[in-house]
C-alpha cells in the first residue's frame, strides 16, 4: 500500500490524515487562526514569551520580534484582548488580501504533515464553485497545490463533499448526497455510482452564524464561536448566545436545503433517474450540534427535493470525514 496522505483545508480547521505503520489512520487537527502580539519592548517580549510558554500555547516567533499565537489559543488571546483573531482563509479559500497570514498557514500545514519526500501523494480538499458568491476557487486550488508541492508532495485537489462520499458512502455504492457543513461554506455533491454529477457550495455556514449572533447580541464573533464549539443543543437553549446560535443554525439549514433544491431543479437534465431513495450524509463541525439531524429532517419535509432522500446520516466523525476521504483517495 502507498503511503499517501490526506489534507482537509477548511476555513476553520486543518485536518491531516496519515497512515500509521499498522495501517490505521491517524489524524492531526489544527485550527487555522492567528493572533499576532507585538511586544512594546525587549522586556515586554521576554515576558510575553514566558507567558505563552507557561500557558502551553502554540505560537510562532516572527523575525520582527512579534509572536503569532496559532490555533485554539489564538481565539482565546483575541477574546482576552477584546480583538478578533485572523484567519488566512475566508469562505473556504485563500486570498491575496490575507497574504500576511499565508506564511503561518504554510508553517501550520508543514507542522501537521511534515516534509514530503517528493514521491508521496497528497490529496487536499477544495471547495466547489459557490452559487451565491463570486470568488475565485481556482486561485486557491492552484496556490495550495503550489505550496504543497514546495513542501515535497505530489499534490492533487479533490472536492470537499466528494471526499466525504469516499469516506462515508462506500456501503451505499457511492450513491447519495453529501453535505459538508464547514465554517466558511457548505459544500454539496450529488454522487451516482462514484460519479460526482453535481458539485456546488453555498457561503452561509458557521462563520455566518457567529457573525449574525455576534451582531444580534453585540458581542465578538470569536466568543460566539467558542461558545458554539463548547456544545450546542438546538432544542434547549441554556443562554442567550445559545438561543441566538440556534436561531441562525435553523436559518443556515433552511437556506442550504432550499438552495440545494433550487440548484438540483435547475440541473435536472444533468441528473440520472434515481430509482431508489438515496442517503444524505452530513459532516463538518456544524453537524456536531445536538438535534442537528432532527432539524435537517424537519426542514427537509417542507422542501421539494428532486431526489428523494431515505435517511440523513451524520458522518462517523464529522471533523475528520473530509480528511479521511482524502486519505483514502491518496491510496488509490
Amino acid at each position: 500500500m502507498s503511503k499517501g496522505v490526506g489534507l482537509d483545508i477548511g476555513t476553520n480547521m486543518l485536518v491531516a490524515g496519515t497512515l500509521g505503520e499498522d495501517g490505521k489512520p491517524t489524524f492531526k487537527m489544527q485550527r487555522d487562526a492567528f493572533y499576532r502580539i507585538v511586544p512594546k519592548s525587549e522586556v515586554n517580549r521576554n515576558s510575553i514569551k514566558k507567558a505563552l510558554d507557561k500557558r502551553g500555547f502554540n505560537f510562532i516567533s516572527d523575525k520582527d520580534g512579534s509572536f503569532v499565537v496559532v490555533g485554539e489559543e489564538a481565539l482565546e488571546t483575541a477574546i482576552e484582548r477584546n480583538d478578533v483573531a485572523k484567519r488566512p482563509l475566508r469562505r473556504g479559500v485563500i486570498s491575496p488580501k490575507e497574504k500576511d497570514s499565508l506564511p503561518m498557514l504554510k508553517i501550520l500545514i508543514e507542522n501537521l504533515l511534515g516534509k514530503g519526500d517528493g514521491d508521496t501523494n497528497l490529496i487536499y480538499s477544495v471547495p466547489a464553485r459557490p452559487i451565491d458568491g463570486m470568488f475565485d476557487i481556482v486561485y486557491h486550488t492552484e496556490m495550495m497545490g503550489s505550496y504543497l508541492g514546495q513542501m515535497g508532495y505530489i499534490a492533487q485537489p479533490i472536492n470537499e463533499a466528494f471526499a466525504v462520499a469516499l469516506s462515508e458512502l462506500l456501503e451505499e455504492g457511492l450513491t447519495g448526497i453529501c453535505l459538508s457543513f464547514g465554517a466558511g461554506m457548505v459544500n454539496t455533491a450529488v454522487i451516482h455510482q462514484g460519479d460526482p454529477l453535481v458539485e456546488f457550495s453555498t457561503t452561509r455556514a458557521g462563520d455566518f452564524i457567529d457573525m449574525s449572533a455576534g451582531n444580534a447580541l453585540d458581542i465578538s464573533p470569536s466568543l460566539v464561536q467558542l461558545e458554539k464549539e463548547s456544545g450546542v443543543d438546538l432544542n434547549n437553549h441554556s443562554t442567550k448566545i445559545m438561543e441566538a446560535v440556534s436561531v441562525y443554525y435553523g436559518s443556515v439549514i433552511r437556506y442550504t436545503l432550499e438552495n440545494i433544491a433550487f440548484e438540483l431543479a435547475n440541473r435536472k437534465k444533468d441528473l440520472p433517474i434515481f430509482r431508489d431513495e438515496v442517503t444524505m450524509i452530513v459532516s463538518g463541525g456544524l453537524t456536531k450540534a445536538t438535534g442537528f439531524i432532527g432539524k435537517m429532517q424537519q426542514v427537509l419535509t417542507t422542501i421539494d427535493l428532486p431526489i428523494k432522500v431515505s435517511n440523513i446520516k451524520k458522518a462517523g466523525d464529522p471533523m475528520t470525514a473530509v480528511s479521511n476521504g482524502c486519505l483514502l483517495a491518496a491510496q488509490l
Binding site: 492531526k28 510562532i60 516567533s61 516572527d62 508553517i107 479533490i158 462506500l170 491510496q331
Partner: protein
C-alpha cells in the same frame, strides 16, 4: 174651395219641403188622425183572423190556399224526406260493400305507403336530430378555430416583434463575437480561440517564512479502522481517482 198646396215643394237650394202646409198643420191640431189609427187597428185584426181561419181549415182537411203548409204537413214532409235519405244511404252502403273487395289491395298499398311514409318521417326526425347535434359541435369547433385563429394572429404579431428584436440581437452577436461572453459568472470563450495561459504568482516573498520559529505541538488521534478494506472497495467502485 180649398187651396191646394203642393205636397212636395222643392226649394231653390234643392231641399224638399213636405207636409208643411196650413191644412196639415190644422189637421194635426184638430186631431184628424183618429180615423186613420182606427183604420190601421182594424186592418191588423182582419189579417190575424184571416190566418187563424186558414189554419183551422187546413186542420179539417179543407184545401189550403197555395203556398201554405200546416205543421202536420211539414212533419209529414220531413218524415218522408228522412225515410228517403235512409233508403238512399242503405243503398249506397250496399254498393260500397260490394266495392270493398276491390278496394282492399288499394287499401293495403296505401297502408304500406303510409308505413313507409311514417318510417321516412322517423328517419327524417333522426337525421334532423343528428344534423342538429353535428351542427352544434361544428359551431363549437368553429368557435374554437376562431379563437385559435385570433391567438395565431396575436402570436404572429408577437413573432414579428421578436423577429425584429432578434435582428437586433443578431447584430449585437456579430458585434460581440470578437469578445468573450460571460455566463453564470464564467467566461465562455470560443474553444478554438487562442487562450491565455493561467498563471498564478505567489504573493509571498521566497524568504517570507524564514526566521520564523514554530512552537507548536499538535496531538494526533489514531482510529481503530481498517483502511485496506475501504481502499479495496473504492478501487472496485472507482478504479482510480477521477481527474478534475
Amino acid at each position: 174651395m180649398s187651396i191646394k198646396y203642393k205636397k212636395q215643394f222643392v226649394k231653390s237650394d234643392g231641399r224638399k219641403l213636405t207636409r208643411s202646409g196650413p191644412r196639415d198643420m190644422q189637421n194635426r191640431l184638430t186631431g184628424g188622425s183618429t180615423d186613420a189609427s182606427l183604420v190601421e187597428l182594424l186592418t191588423n185584426q182582419i189579417t190575424d183572423l184571416k190566418a187563424d181561419m186558414l189554419a183551422i181549415k187546413s186542420r179539417n182537411g179543407e184545401s189550403a190556399p197555395a203556398g201554405f203548409f200546416s205543421p202536420e204537413q211539414v212533419d209529414e214532409e220531413i218524415r218522408k224526406a228522412v225515410e228517403s235519405a235512409v233508403a238512399e244511404t242503405a243503398m249506397s252502403l250496399k254498393v260500397n260493400n260490394n266495392k270493398d273487395s276491390d278496394l282492399l289491395p288499394l287499401v293495403k298499398e296505401y297502408k304500406s305507403q303510409i308505413l313507409a311514409l311514417q318510417q321516412g318521417q322517423d328517419n327524417l326526425t333522426r337525421l334532423h336530430a343528428s344534423i342538429t347535434e353535428e351542427n352544434s359541435s361544428l359551431k363549437e369547433n368553429i368557435d374554437k378555430l376562431t379563437a385559435e385563429l385570433e391567438e395565431t394572429n396575436e402570436l404572429k404579431k408577437q413573432i414579428a416583434v421578436l423577429e425584429q428584436e432578434l435582428d437586433g440581437k443578431k447584430e449585437l452577436i456579430e458585434t460581440l463575437k470578437t469578445r468573450p461572453a460571460i455566463v453564470d459568472g464564467e467566461i465562455i470563450v470560443d474553444p478554438e480561440r487562442p487562450q491565455m495561459e493561467q498563471l498564478f504568482v505567489d504573493p509571498l516573498e521566497e524568504d517570507a517564512a524564514d526566521g520564523m520559529e514554530a512552537s507548536i505541538n499538535v496531538e494526533s488521534v489514531t482510529k481503530d479502522e481498517e483502511v485496506d478494506d475501504k481502499v479495496d472497495k473504492l478501487r472496485d467502485l472507482l478504479g482510480s481517482l477521477p481527474k478534475r
